[in-house]
Symmetry: C2
Subunit: 359 residues, 2 copies
């Protein structure tokens, strides 16, 4: 993994040393990154001018087997073979889907990921996970496929709408709660609007994004296949994914991943207070920070059984109980904490109360 302003120079040097680098190159972008990020990439790496550019529709609805099949048919039509390198330029959708397509085409093509979103830079593109959704089931089907390179170039963050950055801040906060208590102490005094202004500039990126990247890398190095430590990263995501799925049916439009994760962190912090001894002061601070920074999701009493049903299909379900990754305190995650449907219901009702007290 290479991160920083000079990633392309370092990439150029390293890929000259790579015997695979003589193959055809295919740049995968979505409609947005083709417009906002591809010109910047070609300016920094003019040698990619001749690469084939494959543009896919933007948005999570493309992250399916059908979306992957479209990529495979294009690769096939272009005569792509085992030495073809796939370069994914985009957010988590592009790197998850493009990584999946690269992992399975001819049993694995060389892969370079260039995440352009905040979530992509600090989370999705790090750690070799690729996936597509199966109907409503997020990331149900996928592979571990290690990219040859992950290039993290901070200026891409300047191309993002504020809503996208906000979404990434939820993941950043999750990372701090799990592994950077010092960063958590610093960030909790700020509000998300202040961070939005700070993160994209180079100094802010170094201060806020880099610690989250380093934490993710350290976890993945120690437990690539998610047998234990890496499970901690699911904090906020078990219920977060459920919120995300639930929101798909709403007329108000789907939640962004980060908004869903913010709601998930709130509920799972409550579960942490119940099950793993998270102190009330921490729960309050987390709740206060997230309430200020993220729109709350309008959760009704009738939604709760739907969420419980959804959890039964979740990857983390074990014999009818859902295994959560929770917190003992900031910097100290606890994995494999099973919670009953009643406990989860209470957590969701806590969220509903928070919601009411906020309005």
């Amino acid at each position: 993994m290479l991160a920083g302003e000079d990633v392309f120079d370092r990439f150029r040097k390293l890929s000259r040393l790579n015997p695979d680098s003589c193959g055809q190159r295919v740049i995968l972008t979505d409609e947005n990154t083709r417009v906002h990020c591809l010109p910047l990439l070609l300016e920094r790496m003019p040698e990619l001018e001749n690469a084939m550019v494959l543009v896919i529709p933007a948005g999570e609805q493309e992250k399916t087997l059908a979306g992957a099949t479209r990529i495979w048919m294009e690769l096939n039509a272009a005569g792509a073979g085992g030495s073809t390198q796939i370069i994914c330029l985009g957010g988590g959708m592009v790197t998850d889907l493009g990584g999946f397509a690269a992992a399975a085409y001819h049993r694995g093509l060389p892969l370079t990921l260039i995440p352009t979103s905040l979530i992509g830079q600090l989370d999705a593109a790090i750690g070799g996970k690729t996936a597509v959704n199966l109907e409503n089931l997020k990331n149900q089907v996928g592979f571990f496929h290690v990219p040859d390179f992950v290039l993290i170039y901070p200026p891409f963050l300047n191309t993002l709408p504020r809503g996208h950055l906000r979404s990434g801040i939820a993941e950043m906060v999750k990372s701090y709660l799990l592994g950077n208590p010092e960063s958590w102490r610093r960030i909790k005094k700020l509000n998300v609007e202040q961070l939005l202004a700070d993160v994209p500039d180079d100094l802010g990126w170094r201060k806020w994004v880099l610690p989250a990247i380093k934490y993710k890398v350290s976890v993945v190095r120690r437990d690539f296949h998610e047998h234990n430590l890496r499970k901690a990263l699911n904090f906020g995501h078990t219920l977060g994914h459920a919120f995300e799925t639930l929101s798909l049916g709403r007329t108000s439009g789907p939640l962004t991943h980060g908004e869903a994760v913010a709601a998930g962190i709130l509920c799972e912090s409550w579960l942490s207070a119940l099950k793993t001894g998270l102190a009330a002061i921490h729960l309050e601070e987390i709740s206060a920070f997230l309430k200020k920074g993220f729109p709350l999701f309008d959760l009704n009493a009738e939604d709760i059984p739907k969420i419980l049903q959804y959890l039964r299909s979740d990857k983390k379900n074990r014999n009818g109980r859902t295994a959560f990754s929770l917190l003992e305190k900031p910097g100290k995650p606890v994995i494999n904490v099973t919670c009953t449907p009643d406990e989860i219901t209470d957590a969701l009702n806590y969220y509903r109360k928070t919601l009411n007290s906020a309005t």
Copy 2:
């Protein structure tokens, strides 16, 4: 990998030691192996009586993303999670497709393969390759996923129709030509009908099948990801797959995989004589053995451009030339031999001449 009459006893002992073995078990069969092999398996392993049995349609047309999706939806409906073990009981189609489904569901479930066909036992189930076809493109999409166990139980061969066994003999002969010249010297004196009677009995299995299994295991151990040595196993398969695809459109019905491979070995032995110095006597002996044992495919002059077109989409295509794995002599394969369309055309015309001389 466990092979022999006592595999189930050894499997039982080893899987008791495996911490994953407490999970739900799902046996994947096709319509044929459910009838002919599942009762035998349950007789030997009564503890599997409570396993969920998932039955898929028999035949190559199921080996697609749609077929994999059907398996994933069934697994999801059954609440399958990361500790669910998939046990594939069947021929190459079941182990390739079931392996693919297991490799990708929740980024990888524990997998046990129980190949019941001769091709499965000596080839398809060994080496961690999984795949599905994409439209007409064989094994275009797949993944390397190492099974926890491969159980090779000779008596399953008794459940097979003779045509299936014949198909496996083509792969067995390929294995001998590549890595067992002594076995090749013994087998070339026999004819396929004699072998068909011999292979399924236990002594015949030890004499004929086991050396092929050992060769495959030794190659895969040395080059799991097919960077070099393992490519040798493609001998006969580059044109074999082309014959197989071509035959799909025929009113005479598709070739079995083994029949297609027999035709492929014939053509690629001719290419070996041209490109890698295979002696004329070896080419004649290979040709004579295969002509006696396998129905010849009715290849027309108009088929040749179709085959050349097909090769351009093959995984082994490099910059418009097709890389073949050929023979210098029995026991000495040569990999990465590129052949021009003209050379391939000559090889196919040799096959057509052989065909005419045989009728």
